[in-house]
Amino acid sequence: MGLARYILIRGLLIIPTILILYTLVFVVLRVLPGNPVLAALGTKNIPEEQLQAIMKELGLDKPLYVQYFEYLLNFAKGDMGKSMVIRGRPIASDILDRLPATLELSIWAIIFSIAIGVGIGYLSARSGNEFLKAFTRLLGSTVFVLFIPALGLTLQLVFSKWLNLLPTGGRLSAEVFVKPITGLYTIDTLLQLNVMEFVDAVAHIILPAFTLGLVISGPYMRLTLNNMEQVMESKIIVAYRSRGIREERIQRHAFRHVLIPIVTYTGLQFALLMGGAVLTETTFSWPGIGTYLVDKVMYRDYTAIQAVIIVFAIIVGLTSLIVDLIYALVDPRVRY
C-alpha cells in the first residue's frame, strides 16, 4: 500500500484514540459527586444565586452530554474553553504559549538520552568485554528507576547551590529577553546570533534535559547492546566478513540494523517521555504544559485539565505517526 494511504489511515485512527481518553477523563471529572466550581474556588460560602450565575457563565448548568459534545466541537474549532479558576482566561492561549517550552525540553532530553544510551551501549558492545557489558545492562536498569525529582534536585543542589554554575529554574534569567521565532529559545537565539542569550538559554535547559535524558537513556543502553551483539553474530555479518570487508565498515553496517529497534523503541517510549517531562518541569519550574497541568491540578480547574489531556493525546498520536514514518524510511522492506 502506498505511503500516503498508510499515513492517512494511521492519522485518522488518532481521532478515536483521543475521544476515548477525553471521555475517560470527562466521565471521572464530571460524574463524581461534588460541585466542580466549589472545588475550584475552594470555598463553600457562596450565596446560591451567585453560584448559579458562575455555573451558567461557565456552561456547567447544561446537561452533561451537552457539555461533553459542546466542548469537543469548540475544541475542534480551536477554543479550549476558559479557565475555571482564573475566570475568563482562555485556556488555548495558555497552552499554546507553553507548548514550545515542553517541546524544547523533550527534544533536548531525547538527544541526551540517545547520546548517552546508544553511546554507552555501542561502546560496551564493541569492547567485547563481558563484565563491561553486564555492567552496562545493570546500569541501564538502575538509571531507568531513578526518581526524577530526586535526581533533578540533586543536580540543582550540586550545580546551582554548591558550585553556583547553573541557574535553578525557569528558561531564562530575569534580565534576558529573547524574541521568539519558534519558541524554542536555544534555536531562536542561535538564529538571531545572540550569543549571550544562547548561553543563558542553554544554561537553563541543560540540567532538566540531562535529568530526563539520563533516566530515559536506560533502556537504550540495553537495547543497543543486545542488538549489536545479535547483529554481530548474525549471518549478514559473517557474509560480510567472508568477503573480506574491513572490520570498521562492518561495524557501521551492523549499526544500521541496530538503528531499527532503536527507532521503534523511541516511538514506544514517547508516552513515558511525556510523563517524565511533566515531572521534570515540576522539579525545575520549567514553564511548560507539565507545570500548567500541575498548577491547574492544585486548583481543580477541570476544564483546563480536560484540555491538557486532549492536547497530550494529540501529541502522542502525532509522534507515533512520525515514528512510523521514520521507520519506513530506515527500513526499505516496510515501504514496498
Partner: protein
Amino acid sequence: MKEVLEVSDLWIKYYTLSGVVHAVSGASFQLGKGEMVAVVGESGSGKSTLGYALLNMVPKPGKIVRGQVLLDGVDILKLGPEELRRIRGSKVSMIFQDPFTTLDPLRKLGTQFEEFLIEHGVERAKARAMVKEFLVAVGLPERAMHSYPHQLSGGQKQRVSIAMAVALNPVVMVADEPTTALDVIVQRQIMDLIDDIRKRVGTSVVLITHDLALALERADTIMVMYGGYVMERADKKRLLANMIHPYTKALFESLPRMSQKRMPKFLPGYPPDLRNPPSGCIFHPRCAFAQEKCRSVAPVLNEIARNHFVACHLAGGEQ
C-alpha cells in the same frame, strides 16, 4: 597438476560453557584446479565448520587446534588478520545456504557489490562496470543492481551471491548448502551456474551438502563425514562402483530412487554428542557391522585403492 587446495590433518574444537565440542577430527583432502569436492554429511558432521576453516573463519568459541590449509601453497591458518581479510573474497570465497540473510537487506545490491570490489582495491568506475558485467553473467538484468534483496527471489539472490563470490576470480569457492533453501528447479539452475563457472574460469569448488545424490551428480570427489571424522573419500566413479564404508552405504541406501520397488532404508539411532564422543570408531554405535575392535580403537583413513580412502577396520583401517 599442483593442487590449489590442500587440507591436512585438520582438528577443530569448540570450547563452550558446557564442554569441548570436537567438531572436526583429522580431516584431509586435496582439490585440483576446476575440480569440485563434495563434503557430505548429516548436521553435526562437521562439514560446515570445515567450510569456515577454509577461510579461517571458524566462529567463536571455535578454534583450529591442529592442521594445515594450503591455498595455492600458502597456509592460511598462519596468516595475520589483514592478510586474511585480503584473501577472503578474492582468493577464496564462500556462498551460504540462506540467501535471505547473507545479503544486507537494508542496502541496494549494487551498493553492496561495489563496496566489496572497492574494498579489494578496484577503483570505483571499474567496480561499477564489473558489477553490471557479473550480474548479467549470472543471468540477471543490469537493473538488479538498483534493487533491494527482498525484491528478488531466492534463486536470484543466490545468483547475486555467486556473482560476488567469483567476481575477483578466486581459486576456491566454498558453497555451504547453496541449494538447500531453494526449490528443485532453481536448484538445478544454480548448480548449472556453478558448473559453468568451473568450466569457464577454472574455479575449484568445495560443495558442502547433506544430499549425497547431489554430490554424486555433480562432484568429482566425494568426502563423507560423520561426527567430525572423514569416513570415506573417493572420486565419484570409484565410489559409485564400490562403496566400502558402512555409513556411506547407509547414506546411499536412504536415498529414495525411482527404480527401486522397496522403501529407502533409514539409519537407526542418533548422531553422536560431540562433547562426549563414543570411544573407538565414532560410528560404531550405529554400525551394523561393529566389532570388538571398533569399540576401542579409532580407525584411520587408509588408501585401499587409487584415490579411494576409507576409515574402517573392516576395510583394513588399522593403525
